[in-house]
């Protein structure tokens, strides 16, 4: 296997995630797209670790990224639920209280 094929795969996944963040209006779907981005980064990290012979540090930091992503989803969904409770929808177009 070549390093480049993993890098290209993770680039494609990253860009699909960026598209999702920009194109989606529903807050939960935006969070899902962010998960796509985080996973793309993890593939990159593990592939570089396997290529470089530094597999152990790469795996440790991939585990840290997984933990941070889990924390992010927890807090993100709590915020989405609060927004839903206050305004009865999670359309990001409607969340414009700070807009001048």
């Amino acid at each position: 296997m070549y390093l480049v094929q993993f890098l290209i795969l993770s680039s494609v996944l990253f860009c699909i995630g960026v598209y999702g963040v920009l194109a989606r209006r529903n807050a939960v779907l935006v969070l899902m797209s962010i998960e796509l981005i985080l996973n793309a980064v993890n593939i990159n990290l593990i592939a570089f670790g396997a290529f470089n012979g530094a597999a152990i540090p790469a795996e440790v930091f991939a585990l840290f990224i997984i933990a941070v992503a889990a924390a992010e989803v927890g807090v993100g969904l709590a915020l989405v639920l609060t927004i839903y409770r206050n305004s009865k929808n999670i359309d990001l177009h409607q969340v414009d209280l700070l807009k001048g």
Partner: protein
């Protein structure tokens, strides 16, 4: 695992499985960002995350692959399904999940992909590389849980403790934010 495993056949098999899994992952990821049914989006996300776990195992990172299945498919997807349920998404297809005009988003994503693809190809042609950059996952033993845990609890113990505190803070924060008054 010994070096004798890295025959031409196994290398071909590795590549075949890589491209199969990668194709499934990309199609499922595209469905995640385009489908008009929120529950389907969560289920397509399962396919993508399982594909990522499979790629980790292909690369010899077994523990990270298993953790990916446990944490993402086991916990994060359930969180997403709860989020979908509690925000009362419709059961079937739904309008207004995406912006009316997605052309700027497509342009941004394609431009970003072009820049990143150019950077990757250019990196492969760097003077210090032989132009191939082969990962020989079969020539070395896969990393064991023991090695990973030794590293976490010695070299990276400070970062590990910081992650623990971060998880605790996120847990308490999530409860406080989502709690009814």
């Amino acid at each position: 695992m010994t070096a004798t495993l890295a025959t031409a056949e196994t290398v071909v098999a590795q590549n075949v499985f890589f491209y199969l899994i990668a194709a499934v992952m990309v199609i499922a990821a595209l469905r995640v960002v385009t489908t008009s049914n929120m529950v389907h989006a969560a289920l397509y996300l399962v396919v993508v995350l399982a594909g990522v776990a499979a790629q980790f195992i292909l690369l010899g990172a077994e523990f990270v692959g298993v953790t990916q299945v446990l944490v993402y498919i086991g916990a994060v997807i359930v969180l997403f399904l709860f989020g979908i349920m509690l925000t009362r998404a419709k059961v079937g297809a739904e309008d207004g999940l995406s912006h009316d005009n997605v052309v700027p988003a497509i342009l941004t994503a394609v431009l970003l992909l072009l820049v990143m693809g150019f950077a990757v190809v250019d990196f492969a042609k760097a003077p210090w590389s032989d132009g191939t950059l082969v990962i020989d996952a079969l020539d070395r033993a896969p990393t064991t849980v023991e090695q990973v845990s030794d590293s976490i609890f010695s070299t990276y113990i400070v970062a590990f403790e910081a992650i623990s505190v971060l998880l605790l803070a996120a847990l308490i924060g999530a409860i406080v934010v989502a709690r009814k008054e």
